[in-house]
Symmetry: C2
Subunit: 327 residues, 2 copies
């Protein structure tokens, strides 16, 4: 039996989006405002959100020029959040290059980010009027949630006790909803019904949480050569991750005292010591089981969507890829 | 002959808008993000843009709930620009109270401003789908221009030579277009045809320039008690205003040398000395004549709009009021 589908893989759609997106997005003048944005956009990134948007559409129908505008809106929005986050974190580097705030100053970065957000809304103005209200509403709600997530993340830095539920809420807002919304917005253009729209959103949300858990996990347990990140960066920064929050819950009084002393003193081998404590508390097994739980939830949602199974394969493959699992 | 019109004055509409707008605009949580915005919005301001939006609508038809959402979008957008401008200027005070950045820190102010801009777009989601594309396009273009104007304003601070044309372009972008767009957006809801839409926009743009000239003029020549501003604030800050730029053009070599020395040294009576130089160069008469030119241009545009003269009276009165002229 032969299936003939126009379904494209993440890689196909990624190439398609990158070649569409690889152009000047802003006018020449004032160069002091727009050059920083062009500089930042040209430095790539994984373009996950726009490609999810294309995949969300392709699950239900064929993508077209309107989908490209919508995908661009999500990518510009994402870049706006990065430019402003880098101001808030006073970050010198992102994706291995200087941040906008470091290269052009924080005032220009602030305004460049503002105009990047407005540029995202300019892309939305290309959406057909039949679908514009639904898309605008989804986009506005998501944008608001991402800001709320960023604020909670900043708040947590100075909070002694952060519950696992609060952390989950924060990363859902900061990361997951934008992935879920990208998929759902694409699905709206694809003509999905409201039950399927809920499911594709739930798929994206659960996948986003699993992905964030993976990110936290790799910081402590990943192979730095494979994932290109400094091992233990979160541990060195005392960042409140899934791993740390779980350990704080599970540790014995003695382990807790040890952990707090490691966190207060910048010991030479802090990273190794904290990872050993993580292991002693069983955090590695727990993290994998949590990831599995969310991945299973994501797949259950995807499975329930009322289109042919074959159409879902690119999204399944992508999910496994994002979590570095064998396909 | 008795005219019966539902036309309301700026004061009437201002009261109407203020009572509509005087409510909570953001959720309770996260309080760390939304309290700063509520704090800032509760501190008032003249609400000129939203009332212009209502007046633009009333010129052509009766305002309704949709107009109130549109007017709110312009007011939220304006407050977003103020919160971000205050970060860029590191300003401690605005409207006599602490700025958001001073009271809550610049990171929170950055994010609070972002979410205020998104809230403006949430108001636009209430616009009827027949008018939404036109409104969204106008709003996006205007928002972009205001950012460009702010960037030019920052650029000018470090530029030795700023031409009168460049200054005019900057204040058009930073101030005038938002006034023009508020009026025009209201007129779109009122069902104005495209020729009248152009005229109401041109009216707002010219009025905005006249208003900015007035602002520059009053800094040097106004009665501080009457206008509640410190006399010569722009002069003390060496701000590039219409007055300074004209004087730099007109001054003799000796006067130019004097002016530059006043600007470099913070002399005790710097303000008085610079004002005397302004007068010697005839800047006061020139500024009034320029204001008149733009006001005349504004009125010519208003006169050409194809509605009964009586309907234009509130806008005429407002224009004269804004420029502190006798009605």
């Amino acid at each position: 039996m032969i299936y003939i589908y126009a379904m494209q893989s993440f890689e196909d759609l990624s190439k398609k989006f990158v070649s569409y997106f690889d152009k000047r997005h802003f006018p020449e003048q004032p160069a002091s405002l727009y050059e920083p944005n062009e500089y930042f956009l040209q430095n790539g990134g994984k373009r996950i959100r726009p490609v999810l948007c294309l995949m969300g559409h392709e699950l239900f129908g064929n993508i077209n020029d309107e989908t490209m505008h919508l995908a661009t809106a999500f990518e510009l929005f994402h870049n706006f959040t990065l430019i402003h986050d880098d101001i808030m974190d006073n970050a010198p580097l992102r994706r291995g290059i200087e941040t906008v705030q470091n290269k052009f100053g924080s005032n220009t970065a602030l305004l460049a980010g503002d105009v990047m957000l407005i540029a995202a809304y300019k892309e939305l103005a290309h959406i057909h009027v039949d679908r514009l209200p639904a898309i605008l509403q989804l986009f506005n709600r998501t944008a608001t949630q991402v800001c709320e997530g960023q604020q909670l993340d900043m708040d947590f830095e100075s909070q002694e006790n952060v519950s696992m539920d609060a952390y989950l809420e924060m990363i859902t807002l900061k990361t997951s909803v934008a992935l879920a919304a990208s998929l759902q917005a694409g699905a709206i253009l694809g003509g999905a019904d409201s039950a399927d729209l809920d499911k594709i959103y739930a798929f994206g949300k659960a996948l986003g949480i699993a992905f964030q858990m993976q990110d936290d996990y790799l910081d402590a347990f990943g192979n730095p050569e494979k994932f290109g990140k400094q091992k233990g960066g979160d541990i060195l920064a005392n960042k409140k991750t899934f791993l740390l929050l779980y350990t704080l819950q599970k540790a014995s009084p003695t382990q807790l005292q040890e952990l707090r002393s490691f966190m207060q003193n910048e010991a030479n081998n802090k990273v190794e010591k904290v990872i050993q404590l993580f292991k002693d508390c069983g955090v590695d097994d727990w993290a994998m089981s949590m990831q599995n739980k969310y991945l299973k939830e994501a797949f259950a949602q995807l499975d329930a969507i009322t289109v042919d199974t074959k159409r879902k394969e690119p999204l399944k493959k992508l999910a496994l890829n994002l979590l570095h699992r064998e396909v």
